[in-house]
């Protein structure tokens, strides 16, 4: 028993010092850090662009080893909100030292959590990420405008929907040997450039367009070692 306690104690000590993994989402545009509501800093498709709102859900966070086995899981949902810098950093605690070879997460809220009633915390429906007239979470919300010769051209992408065949939640898999400090780059330029020009600039309900845009989000996430 005594030995057991000592072992636990040692392990705790060991882990207090070592076993916290931080995950930070860093959003960039034109290769620079993104600031909300900043005019004159960024251009996309040769138009100046201002981003006023970026929020998205991440869930089912997994750290995996070189055999792709899950070695650490956080099954709760986190709302990443660029207007709240503290929300862009997450922590995973581990009891032991892990050898990590990749990071997996869901971008958006699973269908089961979309149909199971009222939640609090990051899934609270008052956080602007829940449609009131139709049940369901907005997985990814991006709002802003382009300044063009003919005035501002607004865009609003509220991407979500959990019903087949228009389910929008995406699994993001990033593989690379990583340290305890995991930095995920979110490259908005990639997304904005990949949106087909013929699509409406306001997509605010589930359906074909929301699904298409959600799939374009997968490649904008990448891992960076720091």
């Amino acid at each position: 028993m005594k030995n057991f306690l000592i072992t636990i104690g040692l392990c705790l000590l060991h882990c207090l010092a070592n076993c916290q993994y931080t995950i930070e989402f860093k959003t960039i545009l034109n290769g620079q850090k993104l600031f909300l509501d900043s005019a004159g800093l960024y251009t996309v498709n040769s138009n100046e662009v201002v981003i006023s709102n970026l929020k998205f859900y991440v869930g089912a966070l997994h750290l995996v080893n070189h055999k792709k086995q899950k070695v650490k899981t956080d099954s709760s949902y986190h709302l990443i909100d660029l207007a709240k810098p503290e929300s862009t950093k997450l922590r995973l605690e581990s009891q032991e030292e892990l050898l990590i070879n990749g990071f997996r997460f869901k971008l958006g809220v699973d269908s089961i959590n979309n149909v199971s009633g009222a939640y609090g915390g990051d899934l609270d429906p008052t956080l602007g990420m829940y449609w009131t007239w139709q049940s369901g979470y907005i997985n990814f919300k991006l709002e802003g405008f382009y300044t063009t010769e003919n005035g501002n051209r607004e865009f609003q992408y509220h991407l979500g929907g959990y019903l087949n065949p228009f389910e929008t939640v995406q699994e993001i898999r990033l593989d690379i040997l990583i340290s305890k400090k995991i930095v995920i780059i979110v490259d908005l330029e990639k997304f904005l450039k990949s949106i087909p020009a013929e699509l409406p600039t306001k997509i605010m309900s589930p359906g074909k367009n929301a699904k298409l845009l959600s799939e374009l989000l997968i490649p904008i996430f990448s891992l960076k070692n720091e």
Partner: protein
């Protein structure tokens, strides 16, 4: 018979939000043994007396609306099976008119989806729709929650019900849901006949046969709905342009499908259909009759029945056996007096 059974042994449970220990009285809804199991998961989220009573108070309280004038009960009146009688399209804040007829609130625990098009997937999140709808209660939770938190009575009531004084959306929504889940109608003449206590008249018995032949496929016993979405061949209204279930699923097979409404207490829930286009059951049956003009979009879907004027009277006599006065006048469902 239909009132809540209070399980008198209070159960102690650990409350998920704040882990405060609460002693609560559980309530269970009662229904005939031949009914299917409710769709709502009462094992996971049991009903508690405090929460149901709090939900009832909220249901009748216009504090939920933007101008403090409209309550849930404004459109869902207990004496008419919780629908808005006489209003084809519901009336909300500042006399604005909605786009649909307020449905009855009956046996909601068996519903899979809510609203005429199934846009809402769980009763716990349903209230978000009317509270935030500009032409219903014209409010939003960001404005409402601080108001409730500063209210004279609500913080204490939420504390007894949920163990926490701070009112957040989850508790508000759960309380409203808990009250509505107790709205069980299972004591009509039809139910008493099924239980062997009463007998149908000859006319009602004829009507019942006609019902089983023509209507039961969609308005399925004993709930009188399959709770699925069907197209019953109504001519789409050119002004409302309501495409029903399609609006949610975006699948062409769902165009002009609406949730099959229960026919329980149908005597009281006029006007009928999602847009309240028919004022009485006679008009409804005329719609279902073969000799009615068929519209082009929908006629292949229309359930066409061949009945004589005489049989129509019998069928209506049967439909009236679905009235449950004990439900309509249940003191547990009415305006809270205390």
């Amino acid at each position: 018979m239909n009132r809540w059974i209070l399980i008198l042994m209070p159960s102690i449970f650990l409350f998920g939000f704040g882990a405060a220990e609460l002693s609560q009285t559980r309530i269970e809804i009662r229904y005939p043994s031949n009914w299917p199991k409710p769709n709502y998961d009462f094992e996971k989220k049991p009903l508690y007396k405090n929460r149901v009573e709090l939900g009832r108070k909220l249901f009748y309280d216009p504090v939920l609306s933007g101008n403090g004038m409209v309550s849930c009960a404004s459109c869902h009146l207990s004496f008419t099976a919780f629908t808005h009688v006489d209003h084809a399209l519901s009336h909300g804040i500042n006399d604005s008119i909605g786009t649909r007829n307020a449905p009855v609130l009956i046996n909601l625990a068996w519903n899979k989806l809510f609203m005429w098009d199934g846009a809402v997937n769980n009763i716990e999140v349903q209230a978000l729709a009317p509270i935030s709808h500009a032409s219903e209660m014209g409010n939003d939770l960001i404005t409402l929650l601080p108001k409730l938190n500063e209210h004279d009575t609500y913080p204490a009531l939420f504390k007894t019900a949920f163990g926490e004084e701070k009112i957040a959306s989850k508790q508000l929504l759960l309380a409203l849901a808990q009250f509505q889940l107790t709205l069980v109608s299972a004591n009509s003449k039809y139910d008493k006949v099924k239980a062997g206590v009463l007998k149908f008249t000859e006319q009602e018995a004829n009507g019942y046969k006609l019902f089983q032949q023509n209507c039961n496929g969609c308005h399925k016993e004993p709930l009188f709905t399959t709770t699925e979405f069907e197209n019953n061949g109504l001519q789409p209204d050119a002004n409302l342009r309501d495409s029903g279930r399609y609006q949610v699923t975006r699948l062409s097979k769902d165009l002009f499908k609406f949730k099959v409404p229960t026919l329980r207490n149908i005597q009281y829930s006029f006007p009928y259909m999602h847009d309240g286009r028919y004022n009485n059951l006679n008009e409804v049956l005329n719609h279902y009759r073969a000799d009615q003009e068929l519209n082009i979009i929908n006629h292949q879907n229309k359930p066409v029945i061949e009945i004589t004027e005489h049989q129509k009277v019998d069928l209506i006599a049967f439909l009236l056996t679905l009235s449950d006065r004990e439900f309509l006048f249940n003191p547990d469902y009415g305006f809270p007096r205390n």
